[in-house]
Symmetry: C2
Subunit: 488 residues, 2 copies
């Protein structure tokens, strides 16, 4: 079945057109900008570049939906234009500036961010800067992500739209934009299943907010995924073996398996691996926050009835594959608000199996996803907490070591906690699977060492555990030496 | 308006009656028991005491809804009858046994526990042991809590019911028992507002499960609350002052304020304090996990349109007050499933202001609610994570010091994390209020020191922060000395 593209005109007549420089001039030196963009897709490009090139003395607060490209997080950072940045960044330049304290940053759960902006946790945003495939007098159609764009447009005083010819108009077939009512009388989200639609392709806005429309023609800075390593493959194999058993014995998964995988090369490798798992008569769907290349394989192989997310976080190849065949993929691919894709209630209602990676996990099941050695932020928590905590089965998947085996990733105590022992159940490494359900901390530590830690670190971990155990307590620790693993 | 009590007979004809000893004999030595009880209310009493007195060599797994009384967590512990215990304990005897490693324990988020039991995270429970005001052939009516009782009865192979004459039949007017459909096609919970009802007073069960009915006549071991201290009063005052401003400026609270307070003496003191706050035309309701005495005051003073929770965690006075006038209180008091009272989606939809206490908070906004010095468990996380993370505004309230000022409760790094920096926004101590919204870690540390830390520890905290800051990073820490505060 082929679907019609309702909108065929990029920019409606009579809208205020301008150059990127014109638009940049409408932005105040100390404005708070809320940007479209999520999973490094669907973010504004030419206006940020014009701002960066302006040689103005800028001190901007920049709030994106999630990850955006180098036009924002490299160009604007190198121009010294960003003073504050929320809730995620993913370039070396932004990371350095944040870790040096030159940019004030904080990472927040994706599911709650739209509300936090809407209800003034960051003040009133001045300008929403949004990429679209098309814009009308009081609506626009987003490009490769929906993310928090609807909430941001609603919250901001003014609106600047980049209409990007590099993003095909057919993308409108993928979107499902839905607006939640606000608390205290917020309606439940009426989404019956992972692959259903409840909204439209359009984001409505107050026409008085529309400041300028800029025509652009620049593709998203796409992801590059590394080839799966041997470790990736063994993690995927262990996870697949565990889940094949679990779906047989757990009644939650008797009729359907709804999967989520975190962003990145490991996540992408895991998706591909699932192409080979037999789920029997069960419907298999993806309900996550980004759609990566591996999911397109599963759709092409008819292994996946639907894939739902807030963004298309594809490689260049993946983009070309999707764009060349949008109408076919639109039968199964849905791009939603992040407030829907990451909604705790929907993740729970669909019984999602959420698989997310991490920097390190400790013996008792606390997870560090964000801060290297507890101090230096990598990217941000993103939606990993939304899925890890609210899934029917929360899984953390990671290699047991880093830096070619020199550094353990199963440690006595993580020096930064993003997901707690209370939040999830399963840890998978290339060594094996630790099923922590119903285990006490001492039991957890035993199984983490025997099933997940790398053999070369097991003796050291056992020695720590013995030392800690002699000090007593429900969660044994020796605080005097617990972080020796991180010290020079 | 007076309401009718539909059920007037305690035990329907023809049900298998027996003594506590008869019932105890039906429980296997190594059984997994799932108990009614939440907020130290509505838990079974005489059968646990009979088990404890039996001199059998028991090795039970005991899973309660939440906190239960000494009949379980003292008597059975002292009898050495409990091998495993989830998800909460609150007696000195249970705490000691857990911290010595004699009982395997793990604390879990209340909102997810019913599902975890239902979907086999603890195996298949053998016996549900449940207190009721009345029982029929295929239904029972719970007493002073609903908690996870419906899910536990559904999960267990067999059922033993204690019908307790000390619990008035009129309690049935308070209950709103609702059964969620399971994932992957779980319906949204259709509760329109905090004070509405969607269920019944009865929990249905498969009549083939009913093993025995035991008649009892023992009140709940009620809470005792200390008189509010000067510190409690100053915390309450600071919180009330902050919230009076917040509800004016935050559109989420323009028409309604839905409050939750954590269990305990501080929580109870905070509730009482709110009796004196002016909320203007807003409806004020309580949507929490337990109902404490302070809420009865607010109802009596017509300050509260409704109070909804999973349990009646009252003092002896509070119980007598409620029992003497159940029909009147039933107009405003609702006792629900914990899966509803603590549901992330409902807490979000109602825009709850969640106020919970903690053992300690660190400079960057991580919270330790459960483990003293990171190792020795106090009670368990309970529902504090459900509310802290999913509330429209998450607040942590605590004194700035413990042990008469000798120990700081604002510390460089908490040695156990229950709620992360990503989860909530506001910290209140008797010193002041730290509004962490939109702040970077360095900014958070400054405001935590200047607004919340006790003056006698501010210099030490600043010295730590300077030392940490010199090492760089987004969240500055000096891991070599970060836990010196806990070492002898």
């Amino acid at each position: 079945m082929s679907r019609n593209i309702p909108v065929t005109e990029r920019v409606a007549d009579g809208l205020p057109l301008g150059s990127p420089e014109d638009a940049a001039a409408r932005i105040g030196d100390e404005d708070t900008l809320v940007l479209s963009g999520f999973g490094r897709a669907g973010y504004p490009k030419d206006v940020p570049l014009a701002l960066a090139a302006s040689e103005r003395d800028l001190s901007l607060t920049v709030i994106s939906g999630g990850s955006v490209g180098s036009e924002v997080d490299t160009a604007l950072v190198e121009a010294g234009a960003i003073k504050r940045r929320f809730p995620y960044q993913a370039t070396p330049e932004a990371r350095s500036a944040v870790n040096e304290g030159a940019i004030a940053f904080h990472d927040r759960h994706i599911s709650r961010l739209g509300d936090e902006v809407t209800f003034g946790h960051y003040g009133t945003p001045d300008v929403a800067l949004v990429e679209a495939v098309a814009v009308g007098p009081d609506w626009l159609i987003p490009t490769t992500s929906v993310g928090h764009t609807p909430e941001y447009i609603h919250s901001a005083s003014r609106l600047i739209v980049e209409v990007n010819d590099a993003q095909p108009l057919e993308l409108q077939l993928l979107h499902d934009v839905y607006s939640r009512t606000p608390p205290p009388n917020r309606e439940p989200i009426p989404l019956p299943g992972p692959g259903d639609r409840i909204g439209s392709s359009r984001i409505k806005f107050d026409p008085e907010k529309l400041e300028m429309v800029v025509r652009t023609d620049s593709p998203d800075k796409s992801y590059t995924f590394r080839e799966p390593t041997e470790t990736d493959r063994r993690i995927a194999h262990n996870l697949a073996t565990f889940l094949a058993d679990e779906v047989e014995r757990n009644p939650m998964f008797a009729s359907a398996v709804n999967l989520q995988f975190g962003v990145g090369s490991l996540g992408n490798a895991l998706m591909s691996a699932f192409n080979d798992v037999e789920f029997g008569d069960r419907t298999v769907a993806y309900y996550g926050e980004v759609i990566q290349d591996g999911l397109l394989d599963m759709i092409d192989d008819d292994k996946l009835v639907s894939a739902s997310a807030a963004s298309l976080a594809l490689s260049r190849d993946g983009q070309e594959r999707l764009f060349a065949d949008v109408e076919r993929y639109a039968e199964r691919v849905i791009v939603r608000n992040a407030a829907v894709s990451n909604n705790p209630s929907l993740i729970d209602r669909f019984g999602v199996i959420g698989v997310n990676s991490a920097l390190e996990v400790d013996l008792y099941g606390h997870v560090n996803s964000t801060h290297i050695a507890g101090t230096h932020v990598a990217n941000g928590i993103g939606g990993s907490g939304d899925f890890t905590r609210n899934s029917g089965l929360g899984v953390i998947a990671l290699g047991s070591t880093a830096k070619d085996g020199a550094i353990p990733r199963i440690v006595p105590m993580v020096p930064h906690v993003d997901h707690t022992e209370h939040d999830f159940s399963i840890v998978v490494t290339e060594q094996g699977v630790a099923d922590l359900r119903g285990l006490s901390p001492r039991e957890r530590a035993e199984v983490m060492i025997s099933e997940c830690a790398h053999p070369s670190f097991r003796d050291d971990l056992r020695a720590y555990l013995n030392r800690a155990d002699s000090r007593g307590g429900h969660i044994p620790h020796d605080l005097a030496t617990v972080f020796d693993w991180y010290l020079d």
